[in-house]
Symmetry: C3
Subunit: 344 residues, 3 copies
């Protein structure tokens, strides 16, 4: 893609200060901007680079007032971050719209694969699988029997979809993710020997779900493990059997949700968070990275921190005083000595 | 599978209350039960659904006494959970017992693969590999040279087995797991530059071991990293070089065991647990999720919690008081003031 | 490889005590040493095995003085660990130096693959990919368009390299690792719905980098996520978009570095460490396993522990006193009672 300042200003509904005919072909970071690129100033910390960057165009907030001369053409916009998102999408948009089923793929004759799809080399599409229009199945993807995938999905290389998984429209599944593996469930006899409990349920991803690289979503013992509309899971996240993740919830990398937990809508979890099995977490709850949630959270929008997790500020205060324990300990000793003296 | 209440009651050694000839074809959750399915009541919290479910058959404990009318046929059993396990296995049992080596697989001529095995499309079986009767190797599995796999194993798609790995009978390895990768071992020179230490050992999984999706077990520097009989590792677990995991030990998702640690038998670890290298953990120890074990644990059956991990109740008490530190701090200040007054 | 004590002593610059012509063909652990193997004593705890092992040769420190008779031939060396490293490399060195492009691989005609490389079965090499001399691409590796790989790299099975990834010389990437996946970045509208931000950057691995099994390195929003010269990442590590990991830094398993964090040189991180986004960590900092780093760390060589991480000894002291809180609480109560009595 190549565009003039004027074309971009129209897309972004922005105001040009400088040369409307200057052209750019790629985005750049402001501190690395070169001629022919467009960069942006969102964080005021980076303002110094505005005066030194070689980027041909700079996106800035509509209230930005330069303190020195600027060589770049400016486009002033209402919301710099949102505009950058739009721009990145414009520049990143793949030109490819030709569909191909690789002759090196294995597609079972009973599978129902829309003709307008991509199936990569060595992809393996099992019995009775359904794949909707516009979906891209990359190299080395394994899709087991009876899986259903909607329209316009992107399945990256090496993904495994176990049998009976159901995937909505516009889902993105990154490389190496595993959807539908057995839950970690066993019965234990009196000698402590475990016997596997068969998991006959499945996994359902609703529309617009994104699953990170090497993440794992286990299928349900019975029924479905469900990741609801618009939820986003980062890399290496673990979702156990029968979990429900609510609409538009985001879960950062290396977090794990244990069996049958129910996570609300618009929840935000940092990285390496753990949630104990069978717990329920209300909508809009925010959980600080590394926290371990051991109880139900019923208050909408509550912010949590700690291990086990408690209210965010309460944890910070308690932790700050824990750091002062050597001093508090000393003060207790002094009080004891003073009392001893007073009692004499 | 389709079965009557009478057939199921015989399998489960249960007592029928209702229509012995009613048939079911699938299991269901009690709150979602539909006609033609069998559901169960194990957790008393769900008793209300007993009176509203449409499941044709319900498994209940032998002491269960209904408080209202029930439309389902009941089968009363001694142990509901164990019966559910048996049922799920009966319904989940795959009909497939025909074996096939996909023409799309690569099998080295020197490999010794039993004829009664499945080898999926694009599987890659290396030199001198041995695979026993009844084992299923799925699509996209890589088995490097000199690996030995026993009987009746299930290797899911995308698994990688590095050279010289030894796998017992009836093991299950979920998609994306990596067995036998190099340990994380380096020598460091005086300038802080790391040189790789070659790992010439291997990994041994004994019989009935299950390894979760995208889990990793590193091979030993010398000798073997060993996962003993009946041990179960959940998804995304990391087992470092030269670790030994004891018989019938279970380790939940995202836990990591550092190099040369020795975990006893019948140990239970929650998710996201960490164990420092070279530590030994006694049999039947229980470690709360997210704990970090930094010392040897010599007491059989000890329960641990915290970071670093201490005795379970000790941690809970200390943490409860940590939350009260703002109050304790206040009380110390008041004591100091009162002493000051008394001294006047 | 088969070698005499004399040959090995020359390689290791060691002194022989015993039979210079005795031969060995493999390394062994001292407690399991058999005739024909070479073992070593580095940790004094294992000295008792020196007197009972059947290993034909033993490496010991040059200051080692036996307390009893020893049947093995000794080689005394300056640094036992370094010598063991050299030995393992000698014994582990693969004889294979013949190169082959499997007829079962898919190599795009536009790719530029050096003839002296290995390309395994079902590997998938995309458009405009460049692969340097001596590099080994294993089975089931996916290399997307425009990836560049240097010389003498080892890419293990099932690795996925997203488009535009750049890999230096002598890098090792273990099975299932994913390099170049999208960063976890979204813009959020007023209804809490997330829209994906396109990531147009890439990942660069400099020379001598090693990436563990099933680890993930996300590509940058713009610019590059960079893993610098000689850095080593363990299994299941997560590196987010735009992170920079410094030269010769080591990060143990299951750690996660959030977006745009900048990790210095020669940093050492234990397992399950988390670093918050946009933080900077100075050179030579050491972070205890499971710690969560929430602030910038400016002091070179600082040692950290805790959640959030504070100075190592400070955390240990505070935690020790946290365990004594029930006692401290009791002492405060007693002080309160005594003051009450004094006031009467």
């Amino acid at each position: 893609m190549k565009a003039t300042a004027q074309e971009l200003a129209e897309i972004l509904n922005g105001e040009i200060i400088g040369d409307p005919m200057i052209t750019v072909h790629a985005p750049s970071k402001i501190e690395e901007g070169t001629i022919g690129t467009i960069s942006f100033l969102a964080n005021p910390k980076y303002e110094k680079f505005v005066y030194t960057t070689n980027a041909s165009i700079l996106l800035v907030g509509k209230d930005f007032i330069p303190k020195q001369d600027i060589s770049s053409t400016l486009i002033k916009v209402d919301d710099v971050y949102a505009s950058v998102g739009s721009l990145l999408n414009a520049f990143g948009a793949s030109a490819q719209k030709e569909y191909e089923h690789s002759s090196l793929a294995f597609i079972d004759p009973s599978a129902n694969v829309h003709k307008d799809t991509n199936i990569g080399p060595f992809a393996c599409v099992g019995k009775e699988v359904q794949i909707g229009e516009g979906t891209h199945v990359s190299a080395h993807v394994t899709i087991n029997e009876n899986v259903t995938i909607g329209k316009d999905c992107m399945i990256y290389p090496g993904v495994t979809l176990y049998a009976n998984t159901v995937i909505g429209n516009r889902c993105i599944i990154h490389a190496g993710a595993v959807i539908g593996s057995d839950g970690f469930g066993y019965s234990k006899d009196e000698e402590g020997v475990y016997t596997k409990i068969n998991h006959v349920g499945n996994v359902m991803l609703e529309d617009d779900v994104e699953i990170g690289a090497n993440a794992v979503v286990d299928r349900a013992t019975m029924g479905s493990t469900i990741i609801k509309k618009g939820a986003k899971l980062d890399n290496l996240v673990q979702i156990a059997h029968n979990v429900e993740v609510g609409d538009h919830t985001v879960i950062a990398a290396l977090s794990g949700i244990a069996g049958s937990a129910k996570i609300g809508k618009h929840v935000i979890m940092g990285g390496q968070v753990g949630v104990v099995g069978h717990r329920e977490i209300a909508d809009k709850v925010m959980i600080q990275g590394k926290s371990g949630v051991a109880s139900n959270v019923t208050e909408v929008g509550k912010r949590l921190y700690g291990y086990p997790a408690i209210e965010y500020r309460e944890y910070l205060k308690a932790y700050a005083l824990m750091r002062q324990l050597p001093d508090l300990h000393q003060r207790i000793k002094e009080l004891e000595n003073q009392i001893k003296d007073l009692k004499k």
